[in-house]
Amino acid sequence: MSNTTRPPFVPSHKLPVPGSSQKHILAIDDELPILELLQEYLKTHGYRVSTATNAHEAKRIVESEAPDLIISDLQLEDTDGLQLIEQLRVVLPKTPVILLTGVLFDPHVVEDNLKWKISSYVSKTAPLQSLVDEIRRHIGR
């Protein structure tokens, strides 16, 4: 599908509706098309998704409304994803974090080295449904 046929993407950090019964997910990625797809897909599964392309936006969203789950890429515009996750963990120690990246990680390496920082690792090459399965595993529907 061509981008010209789709409506323009609106950064959703302005969209959260406090008080909604839907689970709130914060998606962080430096690529807007990725965020657009994530928001669209997770919305169809009943989640409310806020998006941020950098650490500054992510922190602002966390301050305004704490998410139930965080999905973060490894590479961001202004910082390293793992570093941002560490900072957010200080504020939200119990919030599950899923690392979603195209950088190929060995799952064993993730298990051994990153288990203290993240709750799950999902490759960007995996189907979106696997990401939804992982989200449901952490916060349910």
Binding site: I34, L37, L128
Partner: protein, 392 residues
């Protein structure tokens, strides 16, 4: 511009024709009843006027004799008393009698027969008035003998009896006419009553007939309506099911579309990432086809050869690279890299010579790996490192 053909003529429905005929008859009966009733009503009004008129005439007739008697009584009193007051009473009573006569004449003016009958009465009354005038004149003149003769002559007359007879005759005529009019009025009322009742009964029968005629059509339409409603319910249920299926399919397709877009994004991202990795390597990398033609090279290779990609892509790698032999004469007649690729072997850290765009030869160390796609060699990768300068 096309014109639509006229619709085919609708076949006349015999039941509909009969029903329309019934309603036509009902309308005709109603019109007849209305006409007859209005006619009878007009006649009743006319009869009522006539009856009032007749009663008025009878009243006037009944008043004539008593008034005449009263007037003549006042005259007798005047003859006895010669009082002017009694003379005035006598005049008043005769004036009253004249009024009754005038009213009666007006009432009989429309009927020649009655007019003729009443004329005789009026003449007799006029005669009585004339006699009274003569008596009064003689009384005032003091001619007692003439007065006596006139009174004696009047006493022998039969005017009163004849007047009573004439009045009674005219009154009986009017009474008979009243009775006839009463019978006629009763008959008119009866006619109106029967006309209305007969019309209503006929209309009711015609309505029953119309209902009888359309009963089958009504039953058929009721059944068709019920079937239509049932079909509508079934259709709505099918539409609902189909809509639900389409919605589910649509949601599935939307999810699949998102998955496809996600896969495409991931693939592009992965490809871009891999290219970044390859392009960031400082060693020269050449990707070759099975025929050892260059299909791809990284920036380090471009920098090392000084050639642009357009000068190398789809060109034999041997144009810029050769394995180093002991001497120029010892160069093999075949391409050792092509042979290695064909055999699926690898070469590691072999000395080679890279020819730059300017014609200079640069000693390099060569690594060569065949590219396998599911155990099938589809090409190869050549990685060149600059040889370390010989130690002096």
């Amino acid at each position: 511009m096309s014109t639509e053909p006229p619709p085919p003529p609708v076949a006349a429905d015999p039941t509909m024709r009969r029903v329309l005929a019934c309603f036509g008859l009902i309308l005709a009966v109603l019109v007849l009843v209305v006409v007859v009733s209005l006619n009878n009503l007009s006649r009743s009004v006319a009869t009522s006027d006539w009856v009032n008129h007749t009663h008025a005439l009878i009243t006037e007739l009944d008043a004539l004799q008593p008034t005449l008697n009263a007037a003549e009584g006042e005259l007798s009193r005047y003859l006895l008393t010669a009082d002017q007051r009694d003379h005035g009473s006598y005049q008043n009573k005769f004036a009253e009698l004249g009024e009754h006569v005038d009213v009666a004449i007006a009432l009989v003016a429309g009927s020649p027969t009655e007019k003729q009958q009443f004329q005789q009465i009026a003449l007799l009354l006029a005669k009585r008035a004339d006699v009274a005038s003569q008596i009064v004149r003689l009384k005032k003149g003091g001619d007692a003998a003439a007065l006596q003769r006139l009174l004696a002559q009047d006493a022998e007359s039969h005017d009163h009896r004849e007047l009573a007879h004439l009045i009674e005759k005219l009154r009986e005529t009017q009474t008979d006419l009243l009775s006839a009019r009463d019978r006629a009025l009763f008959l008119q009322a009866q006619t109106t009553r029967w006309t209305v009742l007969t019309g209503l009964a006929l209309d009711f029968l015609l309505l029953c007939g119309a209902a009888w005629l359309i009963r089958d059509a009504l039953a058929a339409r009721t059944l068709a309506n019920r079937l239509l409603q049932q079909s509508n319910v079934e259709l709505e249920e099918k539409v609902r099911q189909r809509t639900a299926e389409l919605s589910a399919t649509n949601a599935q397709l939307a999810a699949q579309s998102l998955e496809d877009r996600w896969s495409k994004q991931a693939l592009e991202h992965q490809n871009r990432y891999n290219l970044l990795i390859i392009d960031s390597i400082s060693d020269a990398v050449f990707v070759v086809t099975k025929l050892m033609n260059v299909s791809r090279l990284n920036p380090a290779a471009i920098h090392m050869t000084g050639l642009e990609p357009v000068e190398l892509i789809d060109k034999p790698l041997a144009r810029v690279l050769s394995l180093a032999g002991p001497t120029e004469l010892a160069k093999p007649t075949y391409d050792p890299l092509a042979r290695t690729l064909a055999e699926g072997h690898e070469l590691r850290d072999k000395p080679a010579c890279l020819t730059t765009k300017s014609g200079h030869s640069i000693p390099v160390r060569l690594n060569f790996y065949p590219l396998r796609d599911r155990d099938k060699v589809v090409g190869g990768v050549v990685i060149l490192q600059l040889s370390a300068p010989a130690s002096t």
